[in-house]
Amino acid sequence: MLPIEKKLITFLSKHILLIGAAFIVLTAIITRGFAQNYVGLDFHYYLYDMPGNGNSFLYRTVTAFLLSRTDRIVAVLKWLSYFGDACVAVLAWNLWGNASKEETFEAKITLKNLFLLAAVLLSPTVLLYSVGGMRPDSVCMALILTGFLFGQKAKEAPLWVLPAILFPIAAAFWYPVYWPVCLVLCFFMLRRFCDKGAHRGLRIFAWILILSGLILAAVLEHNPAGSAHFFGQIFVIDRATGMPYSGIFPWTRDMLVLYGYVLGTGTLFFAFADRRWRIPALVVNMCTAALFGWLQTAPLIPVP
């Protein structure tokens, strides 16, 4: 081997983590960029032309606002999901990546952080939900993780107000899917992270704020004039037909689709916190990706 080759290989090996991270980010951007105008079946199920439009009041308001300002609604909503993906990646890095006191950015990229970055940006579940489906799940997850991050730091400083605001917003954004998720997370977080006795008043205030926010999210949902929404409609009405689910299998299928992102990314985060979750995370993500991918594209199967 020539000396210059060895030098080049040594140089690249030294910076391999940075190269890997750059490539992953580039892949994530290119993959999302190419698909920004792709209209999957979700466009019909989750935006306009189906009987019981399943989106929340908040999301419909955001969509209406964006529609009034652009013709490229599909691309804009996709980039909203992509923004959520990016936020989730950054937040997951902070929460579950290897903490590093190094000052340079490159030194903070450890092997675990690299795998975490790849998992949250390129996992099939994430790609299907944001690239294929332009779902708001990633925005909700970003809000939840932000609340989680501040909740963790609340041991050092009273920051309970922030999660108490962010969690209801997440619940409202993809109501009612994330409503029970946020409620459970709040309960878990407040029990786990709040020292008993310390900041008791603040904890009670946070609880009041959270519950008020969640109730407000539910009330807002039932107020749109002329709408036929009711609490939990999405758990009862088949979004494809506008009629109640015809049986347990279509219901289960749709529930898995609704909660697929939460299950997929949630198990991923568990896997990075505890290695015993690695195989379950892999299984859950592949099953979710397979199911959601199939539902999205099966009606479009070409005949080569």
Binding site: F23, T27, I279, A289, A298, I301
Partner: protein
């Protein structure tokens, strides 16, 4: 692990002879069968060359998407007094035997204490249904590039790198799918640092030499390299019957070109993460782990790349069989890899239908096999094969 028994050479020779006769008989039974690919492609290409005149310039009339060295073999066939059907299959069958011998040699090198394993390798490869269906019934030519790849890996194991590059060059000259072995080759180069990057130039050099008949027939000198990319994108579907992940996300043709680059980049990312892991953990490629590494990298290419045909896992299946013979505990992997594609082979011969539920079952089986292999491979990297820790050569 390799066993230390020493059956007589005479017995092994007799067994190999018997298996040779049996495998030839099985292939002979398929000699008259005309597959759809033969009727719609191979016979047409043969006639294009035959009707274009006697000289090498007849290759200019060739309109097929197979590589020009293969077209040259068809040109030679045109000169012989044989039926094109028999001739085309004979070429593939010949390379079946080259493949089997290469597999035996590789196994013999990896398990020097057991002559029996090499014999088993020869016999099993010859009798694999995907191998004899591919050549003798279907009329396909996957054995050609696969045999060169196996011989290349054999030479790599023996550290005869220039010869290895020549074999890889021949493999690339015949089929672009040889590129599935490239990640492993690059990894070996990077981690082991045993040869110079200049030796990689032997590959395009060999490709150019292999295409010399076509160049003499009137093609441009660099047709070898231009032609390689001609094989890309011929089927604009994410899923094209190789039971990989894309079965669950089939997209129509009009959006294929939005997603194919992303899919290729994803496949590269998967391999890159693996490379990063090896480098950071300072894991070297040893005799214990190089086969699973080769299998996993080539299998990952077929698993994640879009537009994969059902035959494109051929080379990984062969290496998986070699691995299973070296380490019988790993036999489940080649079994499931082959079982998941076998329905498609039978469908290609019009022996069965190809209902969606069967394709789904194959895809699920192949996905489970891939992930099980990934987990096993991960454990091998951490703990070594059979618990022996990875150490540098």
């Amino acid at each position: 692990m390799c066993q230390k028994s020493r059956p007589g050479k005479c017995h092994l020779t007799i067994i190999m002879l018997l298996v040779t006769i049996v495998s030839l008989s099985i292939r002979y039974l398929g000699k008259d069968y005309m597959s759809g690919d033969y009727r719609s492609c191979l016979s047409i290409w043969y006639n294009q060359i035959k009707n274009a005149g006697p000289g090498l310039s007849a290759l200019l009339a060739y309109e097929g998407d197979y590589a020009l060295p293969y077209a040259f073999l068809l040109w030679i066939l045109c000169k012989l007094p044989v039926s094109p059907l028999y001739g085309i299959k004979f070429i593939s069958v010949l390379f079946d035997f080259l493949l089997a011998v290469g597999a035996a040699k590789l196994i013999e090198y990896l398990c020097p204490s057991s002559g029996r394993n090499a014999c088993i390798g020869y016999c099993v490869v010859l009798l694999l249904p995907t191998v004899f269906i591919n050549s003798a019934y279907w009329g396909q030519a996957d054995a050609i590039y696969s045999s060169f790849c196996v011989w290349a890996v054999y030479e790599l194991a023996r550290r005869r790198y220039p010869v290895m590059m020549i074999f890889f060059g021949l493999a690339f000259a015949f089929k672009l799918q040889s590129i599935f072995c490239l990640p492993f080759l690059l990894l070996y180069y990077w981690i082991e640092k045993r040869f110079s990057v200049l030796q990689f130039l032997i590959i395009p050099g060999t490709m150019i030499l292999a295409n010399m008949p076509a160049v003499l027939g009137g093609y441009p000198p660099l047709i070898a390299l231009q032609r390689m990319f001609f094989q890309v994108g011929g089927r604009p579907y994410m899923y094209y019957y190789y039971p990989n992940f894309w079965f669950f996300y089939q997209l129509p043709t009009n959006v294929y070109y939005r997603f194919n680059i992303g899919a290729i980049l994803l496949a590269v990312c998967v391999l890159l993460l693996f490379v990063v892991y090896l480098i950071r953990k300072n894991i070297h490629i040893t005799q214990a782990n190089f086969l699973p590494m080769l299998i996993w990298t080539s299998y990952s290419c077929a698993f994640f790349l879009p537009s994969m045909h059902e035959r494109y896992g051929f080379i990984s299946e062969i290496f998986a069989v070699i691995w299973a013979i070296k380490n019988p505990r790993r036999s489940t992997y080649p079994f499931f890899m082959i079982m998941s594609v076998l329905p498609f082979y039978l469908w290609a011969l019009d022996l069965t239908n190809n209902p969606l539920w069967l394709q789904a079952l194959s895809a699920v089986m192949n996905c489970c096999c891939y992930f099980a292999l990934t987990i096993t491979f991960w454990k091998i990297l951490k703990n070594g094969e059979d618990g022996v820790a990875n150490a540098s050569n």
